[in-house]
């Protein structure tokens, strides 16, 4: 899993995407990799889980070997124009591209994906872990390079988009980690995302992970029925009922790895460092 250069973590909103991305970055750093964790959209989740404080376009290094950065679309666009398209007159072009980016959403998405891929090719990092947008939006990001490639004629922009598409679809370079909690809608979205990724051959799927999974209680209903009413009974009943529902959803999801519900853990930082232990990296 850690042999690739870029791992993109996605999942429906509320499934613990940022926590899982942060925990994967922490674990890879513990294994001696030089890691860059990237917040592709809202940086607050990653900032909280990696205890970085405010997060911006300049990387910070909260732990040795682990750097964290947020993609700011405006800064990423400037960098794209200056370094990738080698545009000389930046001021005027930036404005022209902002107009384009507001009207043709694929442009902004392409710049964000491009930023990830360029970071992944830099020798400073062994691994880039992306805290990606939710499953509802991830496909349009991953499709953006080929969309742009088809939309514009032969040009530097098209060449760049083609390079991005090739990098993304190379399973030795990049892969997606799809997360779900064992509930109706998150599992459906995860399965739809996996199907679309596979069918369109956009990016390989590195792992399907289930989050907030309840442990087996090893208690049968007959024993529970003998328990007098009260919190002991009620907590066990809730556990059994939720766990039963979860098992059905887990069966549909077919996850490669699962992460437990962490009872009573308060801070995002604690959650991420605890989850880091559970990654199976083989």
């Amino acid at each position: 899993m850690l042999d690739r250069r870029l791992l993109i973590v996605t999942g429906k909103g509320g499934t613990g995407r940022s926590a899982l991305a942060a925990s994967l970055a922490i674990r890879a750093a513990r294994e001696g990799r030089r890691v860059l964790a990237v917040a592709m959209a809202d940086p607050h989740g990653l900032a909280g889980h990696l205890r970085t404080g405010g997060l911006g376009a300049l990387p910070v290094e909260p732990h040795p070997g682990l750097s964290v950065v947020a993609i700011e679309p405006a800064a990423a666009l400037d960098e794209y124009l200056r370094l990738r398209l080698k545009v000389p007159r930046l001021g005027v072009m930036t404005r022209a591209f902002r107009v384009l980016a507001d009207t043709v959403p694929g442009i902004r998405d392409t710049v964000v994906i491009g930023k990830l891929l360029w970071e992944a090719t830099r020798p400073e990092w062994d691994l880039v872990v992306a805290d990606a947008p939710p499953t509802g939006q991830i496909m349009s990001f991953l499709r953006a390079p080929s969309t742009i490639e088809g939309l514009v004629p032969a040009s530097r922009v098209q060449d760049q988009a083609a390079w991005m598409r090739r990098m993304l679809s190379d399973s030795e370079v990049a892969a997606v980690v799809v997360a779900a909690t064992p509930e109706d809608l998150p599992v459906t979205e995860a399965l739809e995302t996996i199907a679309a990724l596979t069918e369109e051959r956009l990016v390989a799927v590195a792992a399907v992970v289930a989050n907030r999974v309840l442990p087996d209680l090893l208690l049968d209903r007959a024993r529970l029925d003998r328990e007098p009413p009260g919190p002991r009974h009620d907590a066990a009943l809730l556990h059994l009922e939720v766990a039963t529902r979860q098992r059905d959803r887990l069966g549909e999801l077919g996850a490669d790895q699962s992460f437990p519900l962490l009872f009573g853990i308060r801070t995002p930082g604690e959650v991420a460092s605890r989850l880091a232990d559970y990654w199976s990296l083989s």
Binding site: G14, G106, P134, S155, I265
Partner: protein, 341 residues
């Protein structure tokens, strides 16, 4: 007048279920109500008998309750056909950028929700319209969308492309004669900017109509009752804080904060000393209950509102009656408490 209930909150906290529950409870109390949902789970869609599309349909076997699922493309097409002449509207709808704006422009989907809410509220067919907001931006996107839409159709981008005076259609074709845009076209490999300008030009025809309309939408927000949904998790708690700080610009203070997936506070340290399986289990759940109690106390102290509590259920209700029970069991989620009676 039709009352509007806006249900807002972070993704995955149970907004869609709560919206349906509030609506079902209102219907059972004798009022006609429409619930507008964004992306219901299969079981909820089944419970509501929802068909994809903006046209409301009656929920089978449950009088006075109607449901519709917002379709952003359909909503935008309706808007454009209302506010542009037929020829321009046809050109816009056929344009390759049109779907991108409707589906992918950050405010496109959000504004579709706002537009459908207003259209149905204005029709006076219902006593209340309950709106489940799209997951991105936790609801603020919907509230901010009318202003952003005015920016898009108001031609700010277009003015930059064409210079201070908006030209007629013919003059468009000289747009890329400007040196900066020629340079852009060299990089892009062709007249993409010209295409964009043409699209924005057509969109601008709708400006007066959409501008007036979007201000009307904003006035609907001002009188809507907002219900904020959260859980004890850090993401939703952060979104809640953001909502309280940004809301005053768009709408009135939340009428209710609903704390979903709640556990009984008394589970904290309720276990015996036996140390058997059930005690160990209660200790884990009790720790979670305690974390929730702290989160709720924090909400109450910071915003001066006691959160309404919806218990943690193994499964969301799968019938309209079950949904109504869920809201009915929660005090202060009825029209009167929401200030809409």
């Amino acid at each position: 007048m039709t009352g509007v209930v806006l249900v807002v909150g972070s993704g995955g906290v149970g907004k869609t279920t709560l919206s349906a529950a509030i609506a079902a409870d209102i219907a059972r109390n004798g009022r006609r109500v429409l619930v507008l949902t964004v992306d219901p789970a299969r079981s909820l869609a089944r419970a509501l008998g929802i068909h994809l599309g903006n046209t409301p349909s009656a929920v089978p076997g449950f009088p006075r309750l109607d449901a519709a699922m917002i379709d952003a493309s359909e909503s935008w097409e309706g808007l454009v056909r209302t506010h542009a002449d037929p020829a321009t509207a046809q050109r816009l709808v056929a344009n390759r950028f049109f779907r991108a704006v409707a589906d992918r422009f950050p405010s496109g989907q959000a504004y579709a929700a706002a537009e459908e809410m207003t259209r149905h509220a204005d029709s006076d067919q219902w006593d209340a319209v309950v709106v489940d907001t799209p997951p991105s931006g936790g609801g603020i996107d919907v509230l901010a969308s009318p202003r952003r839409i005015r920016g898009l159709v108001g031609g700010r981008a277009l003015r930059w492309l064409t210079g201070p005076a908006i030209p007629g259609r013919r003059a468009l074709y000289t747009v890329t004669a400007r040196p900066a845009l020629r340079l852009a076209d060299t990089v892009l490999g062709g007249p993409l900017l010209e295409d964009v300008a043409e699209f924005l030009m057509d969109l601008r025809v709708t400006y007066d109509g959409i501008s007036k309309r979007s201000r009307h939408v904003e006035s609907r927000f001002k009188t809507a009752a907002t219900v904020l949904v959260t859980t004890a998790d850090p993401g939703p708690m952060r979104e809640t804080a953001r909502f309280f700080s940004e809301l005053p610009e768009w709408a009135s203070r939340p009428r209710a904060v609903v704390f979903n997936r709640a556990l009984p506070a008394e589970w904290w340290r309720a276990g015996g000393n036996g140390g058997d399986l059930l005690d160990a289990n209660l200790e884990r759940w009790g720790a979670e209950a305690h974390r929730q109690t702290e989160a709720r106390a924090e909400l109450a102290a910071r915003y001066g509102m006691i959160p309404l509590v919806v218990p943690w259920m193994a499964e969301a209700p799968t019938t309209p009656a079950g949904l109504a029970d869920l809201a009915g069991a929660t005090e202060r989620l009825d029209l009167k408490s929401l200030g809409l009676d």
